[in-house]
């Protein structure tokens, strides 16, 4: 009796240890990042590989928050957008193709953030609809051209519990979800989550910047 009682507890404890903080991915090599020690970041308009035309604006608008909270000065994206337009730069890939010396000279940023949106939007299936946002980012030193950091992240509506009920209920909820997802611009919300997972504090993430109380400290031990 007592072993039967103890077994599930031991299992829970083991899972907690495994699933909790104890994941140990290969540590990121921050040598170049630390050496460059950027203070200001220029987030360039994200390249959009998804069919949704709003993807770039959505991911761009919400990239400032995690990077600013990480302790960097992030150049205001709406003004950067206006500057590009006034200079005849019409697309995100044109902006990302500008030589780094020119970006450095005009904006005075230490590093640029190059984002690519690989998935954005809601796809409809017979019994459910999924909203997915997936993006990848590279941070490049505008003074030296060195790659300081790169990573990728995603957020999806299917992460939330889907576990329920009869097919009839599922059909209704798929329709409802579809309406909610389109009317309230659901992908925008998931883009915010994807941005903070991509650029916010985490193991092997962007290092804390000079305005952060965590500056100089890493999220995980080396």
């Amino acid at each position: 009796m007592s072993t039967i009682r103890l077994l599930p507890m031991a299992l829970v404890a083991a899972l907690a240890v495994l699933g909790g903080c104890a994941n140990k991915p290969v540590p990121y090599d921050y040598t170049a990042f630390r050496q460059a020690n950027p203070r200001t970041l220029l987030v360039l308009p994200p390249i959009n590989d998804s069919p949704d035309v709003k993807a770039s604006s959505s991911v761009w608008a919400q990239a400032t928050l995690p990077l600013a909270e990480a302790g960097y000065y992030v150049l205001p994206v709406t003004l950067v957008d206006e500057t590009f337009r006034q200079n005849g730069i019409q697309t995100a890939s044109d902006a990302q193709d500008i030589p780094r010396e020119k970006l450095r000279d005009f904006f005075g940023a230490d590093a640029a953030v190059y984002i690519k949106v690989t998935k954005y939007g809601t796809t409809y299936h017979v019994i459910s609809s999924d909203t997915v946002v997936e993006a990848q980012a590279r941070i490049v030193d505008l003074r030296s051209g060195a790659l300081l950091w790169e990573g990728r992240a995603a957020a999806s509506s299917s992460e939330q519990g889907n576990g329920n009920n009869s097919l009839a209920v599922l059909l209704v909820s798929a329709v409802v979800k579809q309406i909610i997802n389109t009317t309230t611009d659901a992908a925008y919300g998931y883009a915010g989550i994807a941005d903070s997972r991509l650029l916010g504090p985490r193991v092997n993430g962007v290092l804390p910047g000079p305005r952060s109380p965590a500056y100089g400290k890493e999220i995980a031990a080396q």
């Binding site: 608008a61 919400q62 928050l65 600013a68 909270e69 000065y73 205001p76 003004l79 109380p213």
Partner: protein
Amino acid sequence: MPALVSARRLALAAGIATLVGCAHQPAPLYMWGSFPQQQYDILLRSGASPDAQMQAMQVQAEKAAAANKALPPGFRAHLGMLELNAGHAQRAKELFAAEKAAFPESAPYMDKLLGKLDSRTQPANTKTPA
């Protein structure tokens, strides 16, 4: 019965403490309000009213000042751009200067914008109501 309930609560609290312990979040550096959404609306050029947004941003700025919280990077510059587009060049200048004062790192870009404003607003300024 009450003992059982409190034991459950304790277990729940312990569980939450474990989860929160891993993902400890420090206090935010800035008061964001609707700023990300406001940037999104302008980037989309979806016809969202800049006047309404300027008013909302004024309210946000007052709230932050009252709560002694810092406005995020770009907030003042973004508002300055809206003011400029509405024809209020002097107000735009003040806001670009305020961005620079709050975040000295923004100086190279703000100085470029201010310089451009100086060179082109001389005639426009005469039309701008005080």
